[in-house]
């Protein structure tokens, strides 16, 4: 309607019409940042849909993830005698992502969809996966309910839930004292992470001295940092990711606080720290994977090598997650000799993935969470390499711990997995 009005007002230049058109343009601009699809070259390829950010806060991770998936697809080349093709659309807010998911299914006829960095976006497309009966490999989101209260039969999650990441890093951060300040993104992932971590802290006799929610995509944290300092915390726990984390660390450093107040976060992508730079980077983080360290397996190392050869930078965790996600989907297609999602789901529920990490990995059949050893990593005191920022502090679960301690047992889980396919 707005546009119609503008079109009809052709006489002269009306300030009001320009304004209105401006507002309309901004809205469409924010809603969809022109996704593109790779055109099919070979006849009848097997298509896998990829939903990862091309714009906004998580755009950098999005590209790393896609690169990882592309390496997995290229390594396999073809399955069932057909070439593998990835179709990448934007993950840019729940509504856009849902529309793009429908486009992948209806127009592109993909056999499975993978990706997802934002938990909010994944939670929005999980019902679509259930309804359309299509495999959804959620590679990057961390909200606990994805494989908890809101779990679904067609959704599998590669990344670690907040339940696990908070438990892995809590003991290390608690060494600094038990008065904590929390700053977290005001959507599913950040809120769930705050609930998990503040729960652990309180159960251990600690105190939340301050807690603030920040909207995703906040650029200026100076006012938050003033509040943070005023609350005199022993440690700061962040639920920020992507460029939000970068912005926070840069501004934290400018205020002369780096190294003075210990920092940790719900998760950490290397790229966020690379763009903050060696001076601003600080903290101790839960990490699903790190490209250096003795814990890496031969398969993992070969992946690092081919990623570096192709892109000039090492892969970060998001690249590994999507590389593994594509690998898991293609393995399922190959082993079942089928592209029928219901068969793929049954296969994934019973398969063990060996060699990708130190220790066997599998998707738990009752909540579809990938069970795997993870890491706690600390930013080096003195960073000498452009990309090698982390020392591995510990591998979790540690001695005397079980994977159930880390990921939660079935009796604690709120997941009620549907039995029908």
């Amino acid at each position: 309607m707005l546009q119609k009005k503008v079109m009809s007002g052709t006489a002269g230049l009306s300030r009001r019409s320009v304004l209105k058109a401006g507002a309309a343009g901004l809205i469409t601009g924010v809603a969809g940042a022109v996704p593109f699809a790779r055109t099919a070259l070979a006849a009848e390829p097997i298509k896998i849909g990829v939903l990862l950010s091309k714009s906004g806060t998580y755009a950098v991770q999005g590209e790393q993830g896609y690169n990882g998936a592309a390496i997995a697809a290229a390594d396999v080349g073809e399955v069932l005698g057909r070439p593998v093709q990835l179709v990448w659309l934007d993950e840019n807010g729940p509504q856009t992502t849902q529309q793009n998911m429908m486009r992948l299914i209806q127009q592109e006829k993909v056999v499975a969809v993978q990706g997802g960095i934002s938990s909010g976006d994944i939670l929005a497309i999980m019902p679509v996966a259930e309804r359309e009966k299509i495999l959804l490999m959620a590679t990057g989101p961390n909200a606990t309910e994805i494989t908890g209260a809101k779990c679904g039969r067609y959704t599998f999650r590669v990344d670690t839930p907040n339940y696990a990441t908070t438990r892995s890093v809590y003991p290390e951060l608690a060494k600094n004292g038990k008065n904590w300040y929390f700053l977290y993104a005001s959507y599913a992932w950040g809120i769930d992470g705050f609930n998990q971590m503040s729960g652990l802290l309180k159960d251990d006799g600690g105190k939340v001295v301050g807690a603030d929610q920040t909207p995703l995509g906040t650029t200026d944290y100076s006012s938050f940092i003033l509040k943070l300092v005023a609350s005199k915390p022993d440690a700061v726990f962040l639920g920020l990711g992507g460029s939000d984390l970068t912005n926070f660390l840069k501004q934290f450093h400018q205020m002369g606080l780096t190294g003075k107040i210990p920092i940790s976060a719900l998760s950490c992508n290397d790229t966020d720290l690379w763009s903050a730079g060696t001076e601003s980077a600080t903290g101790i983080y839960p990490k699903i994977w790190n490209y250096t360290g003795s814990q890496n397996t031969e398969i993992s190392k070969a992946f690092v090598k081919s990623y570096q050869a192709k892109h000039g930078t090492p892969p970060e965790a998001e690249a590994w997650q999507d590389w593994f996600g594509t690998t898991a989907i293609l393995t399922a297609i190959k082993e079942t000799n089928s592209t029928d999602s219901s068969k793929l789901v049954e296969f994934l529920e019973g398969h063990k993935f060996d060699g990708y990490k130190a220790g066997s990995m599998h998707f738990r059949p009752w909540d579809h969470q990938l069970i795997q050893p993870t890491l706690v990593a600390k930013v080096k005191e003195k960073i000498t390499d452009k990309y090698d920022y982390f020392d591995i502090v510990s591998e979790v679960p540690g001695k005397g711990q079980t994977l159930d301690d880390l990921f939660g047992s079935q009796s604690e889980s709120e997941c009620k997995m549907p039995t029908s396919l």
Partner: protein, 292 residues
Amino acid sequence: MLDTMLIASQLMNGLVLGFLYVLIAVGMSIIFGMLGLVNFAHGAFFALGAYFALSLSPYLGFAGALVAAPLLVGLIGLIVERTLLRPLYDKEPLLGLVLTFGLALFIQELIRTIWGSMGHPFDTPSMFSGFLQMGPVFVTQYRLAVLVITIVILIAVWVFLEKTPYGRIVRAGSRDPDMVSMLGINLKRVFTFIFGLGCLLAGAAGVLAAPLWSVVPTMAEQAIMPAFVVVVIGGLGSLRGAVVAGLMVGIAVAMTIQFWSVASSSVMYVLMIIVLLLFPRGLFGERWERFE
């Protein structure tokens, strides 16, 4: 308990933040005021400023880059106006919008191609590292430097527009282009210059924002919305309005963070709605015959 020291500190911080918003918005405001064009590529020129500074500062230092990068962005602005925008002035106003919107996407992809999509570290220039604490007020030296540089830039722009003969032509041309042309003045060249100036200011804001924000191709998106809001609140085309609105937004954001942090990014839109309800032209928007 209300901590008055903290509130004073937040007020000061909001003021400094406000000046950053003013700087981002002022170029957009000038272009709209003179050309009647909402420049959607403003954020992209802002990002270009940051990236040029990234590439130039190893050779010229931060101070050198602060001069050279905006000039380069301004030069690109001149070329864009001359080749792409000029043919559109007497056509449907929507065309200019669509063109600058496309240009914004194009520049963002160009940045991705040249500098890669990954973020680049951009440290605070060493001469401004550190912070000042005077009583309750806690400001980093770099933010203080941004404040001072912004004020200098604003004074320079104001003097140019209000006190020089060329500025008088610009102002007259924006009010009544036909009459100015009839007086024998080449208004086309003036328009080109103004667009270049607006882009230059966007570039300068980008350079100054680089040590504060993530230097990523998508940084354009983070600049365009506050700029647009500030320009609308202040009254389109009003320099004074942009300054007042920028400071208002900065202080509103800081205060919201103090008392109701989750609303900190929506507060500027709420402010915009309230202002537009009370003053439909924005705070200092005047009635211009040409735009009615």
